[in-house]
Amino acid sequence: MTDSGRLTAAPSATKALNEMTISLLSQPVNLGLARVAVAAFFSQLDLVLSELEEIKVAVSEAVSNAILHGYGRQPDRWIEVSAAVYPDWLEIAVEDRGYGFSGDDQAAGGDGEEEGGMGFALMRSFMDEVVLVSAPGQGTRVVMRKKVRGAVAPGKPIAGNC
């Protein structure tokens, strides 16, 4: 977790140009809110539509995991989704205070009837780096980072539809 050159799940040393955090209850109805808020936040950048769509899928996976695995579908727990803009990249963190898991669980991958550990595979495909910090009984924090072409110049208004 502290290899140089690798993203740590701790806040970046570089100062964010803009950041936000949204706290939501662990209910599937709030998945759309998490996606919309993150996409709206990043609409200040000049992302292309497919990038925004990929970010939404990654957010969906991480928040679904918090609901399903972190909290075992308990509906009254809090999930924190934060997003930040840095000069050359963007960052999303999803955190729960739930069950957590050990490396073994993760290696084991999915356990559902119909799923097979696709969540992290999609997060890794759509973001440039995914770092996971989890401890059984303490919760899970997933930090995802995506490089943004060229320097980012925030200032575009955040649009009403995203």
Partner: protein, 124 residues
């Protein structure tokens, strides 16, 4: 999510809409299974052209229906995914086991060749 279903002989056409995630997965699964059960569906055509997002919960529903139908020799055809939905289908390997068709008509013809020969015709 709005789901529109149309019965086409031994195939069921399901037109999905919106964001297919954990929030709608249960309802989608139930609706598809009920319709497939009532109609004795052999093949399922999923029209994804109005799907704006699909994540692994949505993939799970598709994969589950695929496995169910496969037991009776049936298959699933996919129609019209947008670029990012298609990427998700590719990355998940779903497009290695299910075929994408250019239209509902082609999917129906491909899945049920000869219209009633039992659906055993190939569509490689």
């Amino acid at each position: 999510m709005i789901l529109q279903l149309e019965d086409k002989g031994r195939s069921l056409v399901a037109r999905l809409n919106g964001e297919i995630d954990l929030q709608v997965a249960d309802a989608l699964r139930t609706a598809l299974d009920r319709a497939m059960g009532e109609k004795g569906t052999r093949n399922l055509v999923l029209n994804l052209s109005s799907v704006s997002l699909i994540d692994s919960s949505g993939l799970g529903v598709i994969l589950g229906r695929y496995r169910r139908l496969l037991q009776n020799g049936g298959r699933v055809g996919l129609v019209g995914p947008g670029p990012t939905v298609k990427r998700v289908l590719e990355l998940s390997g779903l497009l290695r086991i299910m075929r994408e068709y250019a239209s509902e008509g082609e999917a129906l013809a491909g899945l049920e060749p000869g219209d009633g020969n039992g659906g055993r015709g190939d569509d490689r």
